[in-house]
């Protein structure tokens, strides 16, 4: 991705448009692309979702498997988030172990989900100190046209939102002290929907939901994740350029506003 060189001509063209407050695809600076959500598409997963954000296409699957808890949180389920930039999705993605871009992507999505408390991990306890549900969220880019951060966040959130905890399938009962409760397969205990909104800085402008060409000429990136109350749950600045505190303020406003819009779209 880092080596991709967009021609100087293209750059000038995009910069000229921005100077007039316009974007290549006709969007406003603070306008996101069309979002399409498909859920429940992978039967071998406990939850799944495929998100199209313009031409960016991302799939996420959730596997829920019994496992052992961490020693310092004996009654909590465990979340793990992985992301792969597979070469199927773009000519610049290479096979092999996750690149630093893929690692950053997974960690930013993970923080949004984890820090928002989206999943009530207490309800993922089978028997305290012995067995809990491990929730694996695996994200794959399928077609890359910019802003994998928001597309991946959405895919993960929608996959979790529609996931089940397979108590019955695994024949697991909830054990609390002497009390043993037989369980049906139940929906994943979701408390809120963390939504990330990513902007890029090009020249002095900030644009929401950048596409591939816009990312290529941007100097900085800012991803802000809010919860249902509009509180901030995660942020990540990326890129080799800087942003001003004024930029940040604008991004915070937009993240709250657009977060609301997206929450309405995904229900």
């Amino acid at each position: 991705m880092s080596n991709y060189v967009i021609s100087q001509i293209k750059r000038d063209h995009l910069m000229n448009l921005l100077a007039e407050g316009r974007r290549e695809d006709g969007r406003q600076l603070d306008e996101i692309r069309k979002i399409t959500v498909e859920t429940g598409i992978i039967e071998s997963a406990e939850g799944s979702a495929r998100i199209r954000l313009g031409n960016t296409d991302v799939i996420a699957g959730v596997k829920v498997i019994p496992g052992a808890p961490y020693m310092d949180a004996p009654g909590d389920g465990v979340l793990t988030t992985g992301a792969e930039l597979i070469p199927l999705a773009h000519e610049s993605f290479e096979p092999g172990p996750p690149s630093e871009e893929a690692i950053e992507l997974a960690r930013v999505v993970d923080r949004g989900i984890r820090e928002s408390g989206m999943i009530d991990v207490k309800q993922l306890c089978i028997k305290e100190g012995e067995e809990i549900w491990m929730v694996f969220i695996d994200i794959y880019a399928l077609d890359y046209d910019g802003n994998l951060f928001d597309a991946s966040n959405l895919a993960a959130v929608c996959a979790l939102k529609t996931a089940i905890v397979p108590w019955k399938q695994y024949g697991k009962s909830k054990v609390e002290g002497d009390k043993v409760t037989e369980m049906d397969d139940v929906p994943m205990p979701v408390t809120c929907l963390p939504i990330s909104v990513t902007e890029c800085k090009i020249g002095n402008d900030l644009i929401v939901d950048p596409n591939f060409d816009e990312e290529a000429i941007s100097t900085a990136r800012l991803t802000i994740t809010t919860d249902n109350n509009g509180n901030f749950r995660a942020m990540q600045k990326g890129g080799k350029g800087s942003i001003t505190r004024g930029d940040l303020s604008l991004c915070l406003d937009r993240a709250v506003e657009i977060g609301k819009q997206i929450r309405e779209i995904i229900g």
């Binding site: 199927l88 096979p95 695996d138």
Partner: protein
């Protein structure tokens, strides 16, 4: 092939657990041109298998020491996504996927006109979104369509399908239960115009007679799969020319 089960895989009327007859393949759906970035692509479902394939190239071959000065090479990566199986698959390459990648690349090399692109690589990526026995055949079938969608000259489009044996019956296109608890699995891929074999594996236990019988079924079914491939490509070309027509207006 290893398992034993009390499950009846083929009942007295010759009907299988998913309702199929012994010589009936699972429903197949193929769509070409499903990805924007890839030079060619294909989405394929057969039964509960869901496969996505992308082709990039011909392009510069990397790493360089793999370049062939006389022709292109095909590099294939077959990958099972983490959630494609009941027990989560740990990401990364394993021995099984290395073998399947090699076999798919070899099978495709039989039909692609590699000599047209010296030093180049044609990269084929097969992603298994959901697996239910038969993913190597599904992947190869999809890869052939994706190559055609990429406009890469081929002497034919390769279909693949398995035959096998379960509960003592020779069967077409094994599903997961039949693969796990059956007695043989024979993935096959052919060049339809010549009936050449480009992929063949077998494991299990079959007499000569059973094997030939299975192969007969698989050859016949492969030709049917090929029709579905061609149909998907026809739809794709119609769609493209339609778009081009539109843009002419």
């Amino acid at each position: 092939m290893s398992g034993h089960t009390d499950m009846v895989l083929v009942n007295d009327e010759g009907i299988r657990i998913d309702g199929r007859r012994v010589d009936e393949k699972r429903p197949i759906r193929i769509e070409a041109g499903v990805l924007k970035n890839a030079d060619g692509s294909c989405y394929l479902e057969i039964g509960k298998n869901k496969v996505l394939c992308a082709v990039y190239g011909p392009r510069e071959c990397r790493p360089r020491h793999l370049q062939d000065p006389t022709k292109a090479i095909i590099q294939c990566k077959y990958n099972m996504q983490a959630y494609s199986v009941n027990d989560r698959k740990r990401p990364g390459t394993d021995r099984r996927s290395v073998e399947i990648s090699k076999l798919i690349a070899e099978a495709l090399s039989s039909v692609v006109q590699l000599e047209l692109y010296p030093r180049a690589s044609i990269d084929v990526y097969v992603e298994i979104l959901q697996a239910n026995a038969g993913t190597r055949c599904a992947g190869l079938t999809a890869a052939s369509v994706a190559l055609a969608d990429a406009g890469i000259p081929m002497r034919d489009v390769v279909p693949a399908i398995a035959c096998g044996k379960a509960d003592g019956n020779v069967l077409l296109d094994l599903n997961k239960e039949e693969d796990n608890y059956g007695q043989a699995d024979v993935p096959l891929a052919i060049v339809p115009s010549t009936d050449e074999i480009v992929l063949l594996q077998m494991d299990g236990n079959m007499t000569r007679e059973e094997f030939e019988h299975g192969l007969d079924m698989a050859f016949k079914a492969a030709h049917e799969v090929n029709e579905i491939q061609k149909d998907a490509l026809r739809r794709r070309y119609t769609e493209i020319s339609k778009k081009e027509g539109d843009s002419d207006e």
